[in-house]
């Protein structure tokens, strides 16, 4: 009879990662891939047109696009698109009982599936940053740009996954956090800025969005976090969010009807 052994958490995460790998090459995966390329692609076209007309591409354009488009809008949208394709998808499609009935480590399931969408997203974020270099961004700044987006995506995806497991409308709460609270960084006083993802993106990338300047009403002095500390904070925050998501799934009885999974 049964000769099966109990898979370790690593084997569980690996199995889910491999099993769902074909999903990134389907519609949602290509949408995710296209998101960071869209603003960069548009700006590249604009730059080409400007050069063709003999005009000079503004020197700070790449940094502007990096902060105002990629980091502030497209990165959160990527997290909002990718998180529902994680373990939340199995809960909504009611395929999760099939996995929960296996002897696998339950808490490793959200991480395994999330890692797949994280890796795919980072790949395309890196391509987008390469595009920024092509429109005048500093090649030396490329590792910091990729590093900051990769770190923020890690934490934001984990955050959205956790919200999706805790709340029925996790995406809504996540969108509010990412598009309202995070955008308010320039009016947040002191250490409250450290509760935004944007703060860490700016400190890891080494550049700031030109949104914040002394002429803005309510603008606050922006605090500084050392680059490595900022990266570590985002990494640890992501780890904590993944762990909480795993704990939430482990602690939630989910039956065949799936009703118990709803927040």
């Amino acid at each position: 009879m049964s000769a099966a052994v109990i898979p370790t958490p690593l084997q569980t995460a690996k199995a889910v990662f491999k099993g769902y790998l074909p999903r990134v090459l389907q519609a949602r995966g290509w949408v995710l891939a296209g998101l960071p390329l869209v603003p960069v692609g548009i700006i590249m076209l604009v730059a080409i047109v400007m050069k063709a007309q003999g005009e000079r591409v503004p020197p700070g354009l790449a940094v502007e696009v990096f902060h105002k488009a990629l980091a502030q809008y497209f990165l959160p949208i990527m997290a909002l698109v990718a998180a529902p394709a994680g373990i939340r998808e199995d809960i909504e499609q009611r395929t999760i009982p099939l996995m929960l009935a296996r002897p696998a480590t339950v808490w490793a399931l959200p991480f395994g599936k999330g890692l797949l969408w994280y890796g795919w997203g980072v790949l395309w974020l890196a391509f987008a940053c390469l595009g920024l270099v092509a429109i005048g961004g500093s090649f030396e700044a490329l590792p910091r740009m990729v590093g900051s987006l990769a770190s923020a995506y890690w934490a934001e995806l984990a955050f959205m996954t956790l919200l999706g497991l805790v709340f029925k409308r996790g995406s809504l709460w996540g969108a509010l956090y990412l598009f309202v609270w995070d955008r308010a960084i320039w009016i947040l006083p002191g250490n409250l800025q450290r509760l935004t993802f944007a703060h860490y993106v700016e400190n890891i990338s080494g550049t700031k969005s030109s949104v914040v300047n002394a002429s803005h009403m309510l603008a606050q002095t922006q605090v500084v976090t050392p680059t490595l500390v900022a990266a570590l904070v985002l990494f640890l925050a992501g780890c904590v969010f993944w762990a909480l998501a795993g704990w939430r799934l482990q602690a939630t009885p989910i039956g065949l009807a799936g009703a118990d999974s709803e927040g």
Binding site: M1, G19, R102, Q250, G255
Partner: protein, 307 residues
Amino acid sequence: MISLNRASLRYGQILGLSPTTFELPAGGGITGLLGPNGAGKSSLIQLLSGLLPCSSGDVRVLGEEPYRNPAILARIGLVPEGDRFPSGLKGRGWLRMMGELSGLEGPALEAAIEKALGIVGMETRAHLRFNQMSKGMRQRIRLAQALLHDPELLILDEPFNGLDPEARILLMEMLRKLADGGVKIIVSSHILGEIAQLTDRILLLFRGRLLAEGNVAEIRELLDRHPVELRLSAEDARAVARWAVDQGELVGLRLEEGSAILAVRNPRTFLPRMQEAVVAGKLPLTALDPLDLNLDAVFQYLTKDHA
């Protein structure tokens, strides 16, 4: 192998399964969970397969509490109700993932996949995406995932739903073969005829309560106070009806062309007397048909009694 001691399951305010007590012995064989929709079959299956913890009481499967217990889950295969699969995946790839989630890997995993696909007859079609498969094919793949790790206990929730007659027969044959091979199988259905063909042991559920357990004959034993319907065919059906009324065992009688339909309170005493009367030439019968000695009738009686 399986024991429930006043185990119940609540979904918030709704009682899915009333406190239930029963035991199923170790060894192969098929046990049917029978009851209409909402009877508590899926609730019981969710307790047995470790998906949900019981709200009260105690559930033991293979000697231990199954809920989130990997040691027990590794010995159970579950085929849940419904036709839901992860979108965009192919059969073989999904089986590989499910096998890995069962602790299989390397050549052992590939061998297990081939073996399971062989059992369900899907070796040549497992490369298809789920949305390219028929419902019957998807059901077979779902059965295959439950067989990958050679489970000692196989639990199937409404496996015949939506299958065409041919696929149903094939699935029944597969289940019989597995049971003959020593796998304990629990299969739920509300289709009484299918369960009657398949199982040697039945648990009858209704409105979250276990009404009866045993084989069809044993359940029938519980029904002595319920009438049994018999069709007595004769040229003179009225004469047969008169004789039957004289016996004092009838609770119902209706005449049809060429036959009398009797509802007999106690067939154990009525039938021998009828046999004697036929032999003695007092009862001109041409045929006797029991109308309700099948599972449908048993089910109707029990559920009516508890409704």
